[in-house]
């Protein structure tokens, strides 16, 4: 049926997006990465994370950076935001900060990276952002933040393409 096809397309896109990531680190390397600071609270504390998620209307915790995502799922988030013309946002590379990497998971009670926050509120990871993009919810959520999605302009001004 069409529903199944649509779901499978979405699923495959997610899987294909996972392939887009550049220089995916071997898991053993990622697990053994240093940085190992002994600091207790610090960058992963609830207070520190709270400050980060409220820093900007759109905040992303990811692996790598928007210029160079290091994971296909993080790359998918960057690409979706780019489709909507959202280039001005805060992105935090959790691979640079093990305390933040754990702290953000504790804060949202969400086990994986990437994590997307809109107006300080956790909205989900790559899957959810993709579904929000596909069903139009992302355009609406961006509008609530005073951000006009580029997709609205793309529909209006076809000659710009």
């Amino acid at each position: 049926g069409t529903m199944r096809a649509a779901v499978r397309i979405g699923w495959r896109i997610g899987a294909a997006a996972a392939l887009r990531g550049r220089a995916v680190r071997p898991l053993s390397q990622a697990a053994g990465e240093s940085g190992g600071s002994e600091s207790g609270g610090g960058s992963g504390s609830r207070e520190a994370v709270e400050r980060l998620v409220r820093e900007h209307p759109v905040v992303v915790f990811m692996k790598g950076s928007p210029a160079q995502p290091l994971c296909g799922f993080s790359n998918a988030v960057v690409q979706i935001l780019r489709l909507h013309g959202v280039e001005d946002y805060r992105a935090h590379d959790v691979l640079q900060d093990p305390d933040l990497r754990q702290g953000i998971k504790d804060y949202s009670n969400w086990p994986t990276i990437p994590q997307v926050y809109l107006n300080g509120e956790f909205v989900g990871g790559c899957d959810i952002l993709l579904q929000m993009h596909q069903n139009g919810d992302l355009v609406e959520e961006l509008k609530k933040l005073g951000i006009r999605s580029a997709l609205l302009d793309a529909e209006k001004d076809q000659e710009k393409k």
Binding site: R4, A6, I9, W11, V24, A76, Q79, D127, I128
Partner: protein
């Protein structure tokens, strides 16, 4: 498919735990580990398609949290990534106006 029809131990665990927790009317468990550089037999990255009445009335975030909760131990351990599609039986059976796939995610321009 690698690991045989039912997959390896993690695949079977995911299947069993999601079945017990959510009584899905439809459940698919996909091992993506090889697509993330894992060796044959690796069970670190999975995708699940869960159709369950438990999701009725819940927004996406809450649906995904239910799935994560069922797999809390695995996600705290060797399960590194989990893609989730969570639908109610009604959504699964109906034919929604799903928009086409965004082009940029389907191919690299760089």
């Amino acid at each position: 498919a690698a690991g045989g029809a039912m997959g390896g131990p993690m695949a079977r665990t995911i299947h069993a735990k999601l079945t017990a927790a959510l009584q899905p009317t439809h459940l698919e468990v996909r091992n993506d580990s090889s697509r993330h550089g894992g060796p044959p037999g690796a069970e670190t990255h999975f995708g699940v398609l869960v159709v369950s009445g438990c999701f009725a009335g819940l927004p996406l975030l809450q649906r995904h949290r239910l799935v994560h909760e069922a797999l809390r131990a695995e996600l705290a351990g060797p399960l590194h990534a989990l893609q989730v599609i969570a639908r109610t039986p009604q959504q699964w059976q109906s034919d929604p106006q799903a928009p086409p796939a965004p082009p940029c995610l389907g191919g690299s321009k760089r």
